[in-house]
């Protein structure tokens, strides 16, 4: 499996953590419109768009890029963090990464199944939107905890 160089691990981890925390704050504790600076409102080409929410001129729509930028930062930093090599990348670490990914997929879809039968309408779309990020958050959280446990293993004495 392709992995990014270890040099991206630390910096992407911090960016991921801060951007996820900021994303939670942005989503749950602010009036989302107030955070989006007018400077970021520009015309962008859209393959698909909703005419109710955006005025279109051909393929060009006016859009505030704030949430797109935040999404890109969270996803790119999350992928870099989870898929960067450890200092000593070995098969046990790979195995831990694979298992963490599998567990996060199971949990994420268990939540989606639960949401499917209990949440309806617009709130369900919000849950689906959150799930785009929660799989990455869960994977990185589980993998990091496993790595910590692995590195904190009490090593047997030498010889």
């Amino acid at each position: 499996m392709f992995l990014f160089p270890n040099k991206y691990k630390r910096i992407s981890g911090w960016i991921f953590l801060l951007s996820v925390l900021f994303g939670i704050y942005y989503l749950f504790f602010t009036d989302m419109e107030s955070m989006a600076s007018e400077i970021l409102t520009i015309k962008v080409p859209a393959l698909l768009h909703d005419e109710v929410f955006s005025a279109a001129e051909g393929i060009w729509i006016e859009n505030n890029l704030f949430d797109e930028i935040l999404t890109l930062i969270i996803v790119i930093s999350g992928l870099l963090y989870g898929f960067s090599k450890e200092k000593i990348e070995d098969e046990y670490i790979s195995s831990m990464r694979n298992r963490s990914l599998a567990v996060s997929v199971y949990i994420n879809y268990a939540v989606l199944l639960l949401a499917t039968i209990t949440i309806y309408g617009l709130p369900f779309l919000q849950v689906m939107m959150l799930q785009l990020f929660s799989i990455l958050v869960l994977f990185n959280l589980i993998f990091t905890l496993r790595l910590r446990k692995h590195y904190n293993t009490t090593l047997d004495d030498e010889e």
Binding site: I88, D90, E91, Y92, H150, T153, D156, E158
Partner: protein
Amino acid sequence: MYRSIQKVSQQSLSEKMGVSRQTMNSIENGKYLPSLLLAMKLASYFECKIEELFEMEDSDWDK
């Protein structure tokens, strides 16, 4: 056991095998079952057969 007979440290052996010391420790304690390739590398290093390094237990049949 082979490691102590050959007086090679866990650190030195893990460096030779390209794994971390924690991973080597997990293999020695039976917490992690190495891949066939790593098992063959270990056997080659100690100049012995794989089954002299690793043995199967009855419970392994259920895995």
